[in-house]
């Protein structure tokens, strides 16, 4: 590659210099090759670590994304990582590739949705929303699928662990972030993602402490549109 041209090009045409500089084109190729070879999403930090010193993976990604726009393969962002995935309208060609996935139980699907929409959420909160106790196998199965993981503990009495969804979850459902969950905005504006004081007779969960209030606002912040 004619890397030596870069300097002269920058002088000649300052506006287009980055786009046309062989260096950036070369960086774009590198990012393309790395993402192409990897089956799992790669973070910008990892990309940067594998590319030669001085490269700007984030910028190369901008060009690469443009290049794959409308192709049979697309460049997608998953959390803070990037991956190449077949365009979703090409699914009909892929029956051969499809692996039979284990069907999730209704309880598991609902638990997953509650964790995704309410995260970070404790087991007691999941149980309160579903109205039944969460069975042994359900959380186990979701952890094994690597769709949920333990988040930080809630600062309430007993310091219960919370659950959050993982990057694998986002990747699986083609989501860039948990903010892109379908219908999240409507649910929030309808107040259905808030934890309201529970007035259940003998029930266990009481959301009245300072901590919970601050936790609730954390969660809201997390899903705020930027």
């Amino acid at each position: 590659m004619s890397k030596l041209n870069t300097d002269t090009q920058i002088i000649k045409n300052p506006e287009e210099s980055l786009f046309d500089s062989p260096l950036m084109a070369e960086q774009e190729r590198m990012v393309e090759a790395i993402l192409f070879a990897a089956a799992d999403p790669v973070t910008i930090k990892e990309l940067q670590g594998r590319m030669p010193h001085g490269c700007d993976a984030a910028e190369a990604l901008v060009y690469l994304r443009k290049r794959y726009d409308g192709r049979g393969v697309s460049l997608v962002k998953i959390g803070d990582a990037w991956a190449l995935r077949t365009a979703s309208d090409m699914g009909f060609l892929m029956q051969k590739e499809t692996v039979e996935t284990r069907k999730l139980s209704r309880a598991a699907v609902e638990t997953l949705a509650i964790i995704a929409y309410h995260q970070p959420v404790t087991r007691a909160e999941i149980e309160e929303i579903r109205g039944v106790s969460v069975s042994r196998g359900t959380v186990d199965q979701l952890i094994e699928l690597e769709w949920i993981r333990f988040g930080r503990r809630r600062l309430t009495p007993g310091r219960p662990v919370t659950f959050v969804v993982t990057q694998d979850f986002l990747d699986h459902f083609g989501l860039e972030s948990a903010r892109d969950l379908p219908g999240l905005e409507e649910l929030r504006s309808a107040g259905l993602l808030e934890s309201r004081p529970v007035m259940w007779t003998g029930d266990v969960t009481v959301y009245e402490t300072e901590d919970d209030i601050s936790d609730a606002s954390d969660q809201t912040e997390m899903f705020v549109d930027t």
Binding site: A37, R85, V99, V109, A113, F150, H172, M199, T201
Partner: protein, 256 residues
């Protein structure tokens, strides 16, 4: 809706539902299903009517001698209480939330559960990896720089910890006794050997075989052998002497 009509509806709904209580995932699920028969937005639901429906259902279910789980009965009791609160004029001396507040919360819970179910369905209807869109099929065969790294999952870690912590033979706070030569052992050994000690001998020669090499073991064995020799001297079985301070301690069999 007239009373008779709603009675009919109630009965039909109840009959349709009394098949298997296990088909429901708890009282809230049952309530949500019942509320659908009101055919209104969950926000405008009549909690009073719903409470009546639920109680009628539970009543019928008991008639049919279905085994009703405790939580269904707890809910029934709570709804009966709610019903009375909604029907009676509020008592100002009563503490706690009003009937309306309780009803509003129940309606909220039902709406939230329903919303979560819809969201779950929407989520599962999304294009999914390895079903609708795909990752790279071929793993690249590249130059193998064999650097071995070890990995473990959080599950491994937690199970490993649980394994140790639930181990049956787990004994808290027990000292490791492998390198300790007890006084009982020293006594037994000295008693066995002293019969042959007609001459003065250094007590260190009575240390058990092999224990003089490891420093920890030697210390322990020396101490216990010394203590054992004092014991034997007290019993009058042996004599002891030490010529100068810090010189070897010697023992010999005492005649008679």
């Amino acid at each position: 809706m007239t009373t008779s009509e709603s009675d009919v509806n109630d009965r039909l709904a109840a009959e349709a539902l009394i098949v298997d209580v296990d088909g429901f995932e708890g009282p809230l699920d049952l309530l949500l299903t019942l509320s659908r028969s009101q055919k209104v937005d969950l926000r405008q639901i009549s909690v009073l009517a719903l409470a009546q429906q639920y109680l009628a259902f539970i009543y019928k279910a008991q008639d049919l001698r279905l085994e009703l789980a405790a939580d269904y009965l707890v809910m029934a009791a709570w709804l009966a209480f709610l019903k009375s609160r909604l029907l009676l004029p509020p008592d100002p001396s009563e503490e706690g939330p009003s009937g309306e507040e309780l009803a509003a919360h129940l309606a909220f819970q039902l709406e939230r559960l329903s919303a979560m179910r819809e969201s779950a369905a929407k989520l599962m209807a999304r294009n999914q990896l390895a079903r609708d869109f795909f990752a790279r099929g071929i793993t690249e065969d590249v130059t193998r720089t064999r650097r071995v790294t070890y990995t473990a999952t959080l599950l491994d870690l937690m199970q490993g910890y649980a394994r140790i912590r639930t181990k049956d033979e787990f004994r808290p706070f027990v000292l490791d006794r492998e390198k300790i030569f007890t006084m009982e052992e020293a006594l037994r050994r000295l008693r066995g050997l002293i019969g042959f000690a007609g001459e003065w001998t250094d007590i260190l020669s009575y240390l058990p075989e092999g224990w003089e090499i490891d420093q920890m073991k030697r210390r322990s064995a020396t101490a216990s052998t010394f203590a054992a020799s004092l014991e034997l001297a007290k019993e009058g079985k042996i004599e002891m002497r030490q010529r100068v301070v810090f010189s070897p301690i010697q023992i010999r069999k005492k005649d008679g």
